[in-house]
Symmetry: C7
Subunit: 243 residues, 7 copies
Amino acid sequence: MSFMPASMGYDRALTIFSPDGKLYQVEYAAEAVRRGWTSLGIKSENGVVLIAERRKVAPLHDVMNLEKVFAVDTHIGATFSGLGHDGRILIDYARLIAVRHRLTFDEPVDVELLARTICDIKQAYTQQAGVRPFGVSLIIGGVDRKGAELVKTEPSGLYFKYYAVAAGAGEQAVINYLEKYYNVKTTVEEAIILGLRALRAALEEPLKVERVEIGYVDVSSKLFRKLSIEEVQSFLEKAGVTS
Amino acid sequence: MSFMPASMGYDRALTIFSPDGKLYQVEYAAEAVRRGWTSLGIKSENGVVLIAERRKVAPLHDVMNLEKVFAVDTHIGATFSGLGHDGRILIDYARLIAVRHRLTFDEPVDVELLARTICDIKQAYTQQAGVRPFGVSLIIGGVDRKGAELVKTEPSGLYFKYYAVAAGAGEQAVINYLEKYYNVKTTVEEAIILGLRALRAALEEPLKVERVEIGYVDVSSKLFRKLSIEEVQSFLEKAGVTS
Amino acid sequence: MSFMPASMGYDRALTIFSPDGKLYQVEYAAEAVRRGWTSLGIKSENGVVLIAERRKVAPLHDVMNLEKVFAVDTHIGATFSGLGHDGRILIDYARLIAVRHRLTFDEPVDVELLARTICDIKQAYTQQAGVRPFGVSLIIGGVDRKGAELVKTEPSGLYFKYYAVAAGAGEQAVINYLEKYYNVKTTVEEAIILGLRALRAALEEPLKVERVEIGYVDVSSKLFRKLSIEEVQSFLEKAGVTS
Amino acid sequence: MSFMPASMGYDRALTIFSPDGKLYQVEYAAEAVRRGWTSLGIKSENGVVLIAERRKVAPLHDVMNLEKVFAVDTHIGATFSGLGHDGRILIDYARLIAVRHRLTFDEPVDVELLARTICDIKQAYTQQAGVRPFGVSLIIGGVDRKGAELVKTEPSGLYFKYYAVAAGAGEQAVINYLEKYYNVKTTVEEAIILGLRALRAALEEPLKVERVEIGYVDVSSKLFRKLSIEEVQSFLEKAGVTS
Amino acid sequence: MSFMPASMGYDRALTIFSPDGKLYQVEYAAEAVRRGWTSLGIKSENGVVLIAERRKVAPLHDVMNLEKVFAVDTHIGATFSGLGHDGRILIDYARLIAVRHRLTFDEPVDVELLARTICDIKQAYTQQAGVRPFGVSLIIGGVDRKGAELVKTEPSGLYFKYYAVAAGAGEQAVINYLEKYYNVKTTVEEAIILGLRALRAALEEPLKVERVEIGYVDVSSKLFRKLSIEEVQSFLEKAGVTS
Amino acid sequence: MSFMPASMGYDRALTIFSPDGKLYQVEYAAEAVRRGWTSLGIKSENGVVLIAERRKVAPLHDVMNLEKVFAVDTHIGATFSGLGHDGRILIDYARLIAVRHRLTFDEPVDVELLARTICDIKQAYTQQAGVRPFGVSLIIGGVDRKGAELVKTEPSGLYFKYYAVAAGAGEQAVINYLEKYYNVKTTVEEAIILGLRALRAALEEPLKVERVEIGYVDVSSKLFRKLSIEEVQSFLEKAGVTS
Amino acid sequence: MSFMPASMGYDRALTIFSPDGKLYQVEYAAEAVRRGWTSLGIKSENGVVLIAERRKVAPLHDVMNLEKVFAVDTHIGATFSGLGHDGRILIDYARLIAVRHRLTFDEPVDVELLARTICDIKQAYTQQAGVRPFGVSLIIGGVDRKGAELVKTEPSGLYFKYYAVAAGAGEQAVINYLEKYYNVKTTVEEAIILGLRALRAALEEPLKVERVEIGYVDVSSKLFRKLSIEEVQSFLEKAGVTS
């Protein structure tokens, strides 16, 4: 018994506190995020960029058809790190929230309101028995009447706004790179190149077109779009990360 | 087995008593508050002041857009220490209670009634299975027909009224400072300066404008407002806590 | 394992018996009462007196606005010892029971019926899963068509009638004092002085006006009222307990 | 682990069997009865007698107003041993059953039918999860169209008919005494005296008027009534148990 | 831990299998039957006999009024061994099933259909969580359009038909006796005498009239009746078991 | 603790996986089948044969009236091995499914559809909490528009079709015998004789008429019928298994 | 205790995280897949091929009638590895989803939408208490308006698209073989031969016609069909895997 980890007992039941005031299930869900594939977001002067790593899970995996950057509404995109099945469920929630907002108020949902509503769901999954927390962090980027917004949500239901942010296994390396080179006065194109170089630093190997998905929301048109394979390839070369 | 902490067993199931009559889950939730960011409230002759610390959670965190002092109604503001996701939920409850009161009785809710209703929710989460207590303490300040009121709610569902109060990691240091220098015959301006100095004492490093949010309710107008960045900066300098 | 207390196992699940026929959760809830602030009640010839200790929980706690003696109906008052959040809930129940009785039967509720209804709630919380017992003892005093009544309720749902009774950390000391000096042929004024001296004996330090709340129900008018600060101060001096 | 009692594990969960075919929770509830205040019932030719011990729980306890012998209907009385809060609930059930029977069938309920209905409730509390058994034994006495009836119910939901019976801490001593001196050809008056002497034997100290409550149902009138204090005092003296 | 019985763990949760394919809770419930008072049934050419042992649970227990052989319908009787409270519940179910059958189909229920319906209830209590199995075996005797039937139900929900059968503490001794002396070509009177002698063998002490209850269903009239005390006494003497 | 079996912990809670991907409760339920009485089925050119062993559970058990081979519909029969009470429930389900199919579609249910519907019920009992798996394997034989069908269902909800199959304690011995002597070009009569010899090999003692039940479905008439005692006796002699 | 596996405790309760962010129940369900019979799918230029291994579970098992490749809709087929009873349930869900889509939208469901809906069910079974995850991986092949699609779903609710994929005990060997020899420019006929050779490599013994089932969806006709026994035999010989 003496070799049991100190946290023993507190992590078994759902949604309870440990003596040091922590919710272990939430901490463990965050660990699932830390082991996920890397994703990142960067705000620039004329848009918000989302970049997601994807991996071949088998030699004959059709990785080019694997989606990791998602359109949530015409003006909002999202990506995530962590458990893929949980992520898909939350992306579905996000789309539902956006559609309902349009139907109810006849206007696009604000990015922060979308993030907060997602986080209300996440919080409930940390306080009620019979469910486990979501093991996923969403990075949501969009442009609303307040301008460009970049938000990251935690498994706990916390969310914060960022100029640039990352999640997943490469979070720390990406963050370190961005901290050094990020400049708020930048264009979408520069932000994509910056993001690819940061991802390159995290992965410690050359980036191929099948390894990344890229999307962005344009400030003036308020439209989200994803880059084509050719565009991704072109940016990879401009960023000089293919070797 | 002999190295297990004495509380073993009593903290695993929800909402039960230990042999010494304690509700461990509630005590642990209070520990979550004690590890939270510092918040404080101060009553003055012409208003109630709320000050909250905020922290940069990452180098490119857009901390200036992080809200820690909230308007609950036109005449009531609130801040909190503890789990941020839980705090957000309770702030939402507070706003809902205030709005419902206006709709039902056509008058603003009293501060104490608001606090008690919040605490009835909190108490229920300590007595029923299937949920955990809220890991958050709200500090609610407002002006109602009885005058200025300052209330702090505990995770247990207890609440008390104060002349000046604090919560979070810096609670003890702030309280010690306030006890020494607080005087009930003071103005809002003096209370803000006092609060900033107390917070400075707790943090043991200079305060920057991005590190604090300040709000207050004015006794004569019964209106809550938050200080602008420029006002905060000005008060930081008046208080001499920027270095 | 050999250092575990003998009760191990029986106190974890809700609402079950130990081999010696005890309900441990109920015993532990009673322990919460024994650790609470002291409260007491005394029957006199022309009224029932309720006195409650209160404490400053922080240097700038506005203790004078902390209520520990409550009006339940025009003819009934109550105080309690134990968990404050649980006590507040039961006081609310008491008020609801009293109001409903008036609405249904168009007459004031009897003190014992009120106490029994409260205790039916308490008993249910000791027999059903999914909840914990209430960690609080109510002392209810009132005057109904049968005359003056003084009842104390236990966390188990038991209740007894008394000439004089106490609860909380000072219960034993107060009881010892009352046993020695209590006389049924007494006035409300004498009973207040007796109660303050008994409380003084329990606290082992001088009593200040902020430390006690006092209420009583008058036999002839059947009205409950609480003493003003000035009246409390005056009684403290008459009782000679301020030093 | 080696010092754990042999029953370990079987008594934790509700309503399950131990390897030797016992329901431990029910056995433990019976232990609660065995630790209760003594109560007893005696059938005589012209009536059924119920006698209950009561105790002062505190020096200033108003024990004379503590009821332990209850009217259930005009023709039925009851007393109990065990957990007082559980007993009160079952007495309420008994009264409800009796009233409903009158409303439905326009005639008084039979004593055995009343006892069986109470025991159906008790049995359900031993077979379903989420509740604990009732820790109380009722002794029910009455006169119905079949004549005088005396029934004792167990926490298990079992019930038996008796000529004379006891429950609580003094059960064995009372039973021993009754076995020696009981005679079915007796009057109510003689039965009361016999019962008081048996109780005296169990308590091993003189009986005072505040220590006992006495009620009986008369065979010819089929009416239950409780003795006044003066009558109790008079019987105590006739029985010679006051010293 | 090394002294724990081998079955440890499998008997704690409801309705689960042990590695050797047993349902321990059901086995333990059967143990409750094996510890019960003895009951038996015997088929004869012109009727089915049911005999039940009863015991004095206390010196002044009115054992003559204790019913252990029950009329279920005009053509069916039943007795049981095991937990008396559970048995009473199942007898009530049996009567309800019989009455409903008459109301629905306007004809008496068959004995086997009655037994199977009881056993469907019993089986459900072995497969669903939140309840425990019934700790009782019913012996049901009756005469329907197929003739005389004698069925015994197990706690598991199994039932079998018998020429002669027993349950309870004396099961083995009764069975041994019956196996030696039973003859299918027998009358009700002979079967009663045989049954009393078998019971005598199991109890190993003389049988008194208060110790047994006897009932039987007649083949030609299809009517169940219970023997009067005088009849029982007469049979005891004919059987030569009173000494 | 070191002597605990390796599976410890995984078999206690319902419906969960062990690290090696097994559902222990399902494996244990299969063990209950392996300990059951032997049953078998054999397909022949002109029919499907079902044979079930039955045992005397007591000396005076009326084993000839014990049914182990059941008519499910006019064209389908079934037998089972494992827990008898569970088997009875599933046979009832099978009959209900068959009747409902006729009512809904006005045609007899196919054998495989019947088996699959039974297995959907079984699967649900392995995936949901609050119930245990069924400890029984059904062998279902019938003739539908596709011809003769023989299916065996597992406690897991799996089912397979067979030429010949067995379940229960004698499964292996029966299977070994059948493998050696089974020939698809056979008549019902030959199949019965083969089955009896296989059962004889499993039981290792002579077969008496009371020990077996036999039923079959005829291909041309599509009718299920059970053999009379005389027919069974005749087949036992033809098979030469009576000594 | 020291010999317990490191994962102890985290795998007992449903749907919770381990400290390293894993959902053990999901990992164990995946282990059930890894122990299942091998299945595989291959995309070719003019169709999608599904091949499933099947095994004789007993000597007289009618394995030729065991279905492992299923038609889901006219344009979609599926096979699976893992728990057969769980697989059957999910195949039923798949058919239901396809039928509902046709009824609601009057067009065939897309392969990916079908897979995602199946995976939403699977995800829910990993996040809610009271159920266990599905221990099965589906391989779904079809042709929709986007062309040929091949998807594999995991117990977690994850799904990926592949050019060629396998599941079950032979997954690794099949994958290794396919990686070496797979070419996207291939015909259905070549893909079948390739698949059979890969399966042969995994099984390490000659393939007989009863051991495999084969189905495919044709790109031009968008129709799913299964190969006849003769066709399978012919392909086995062409592939040279029968010896």
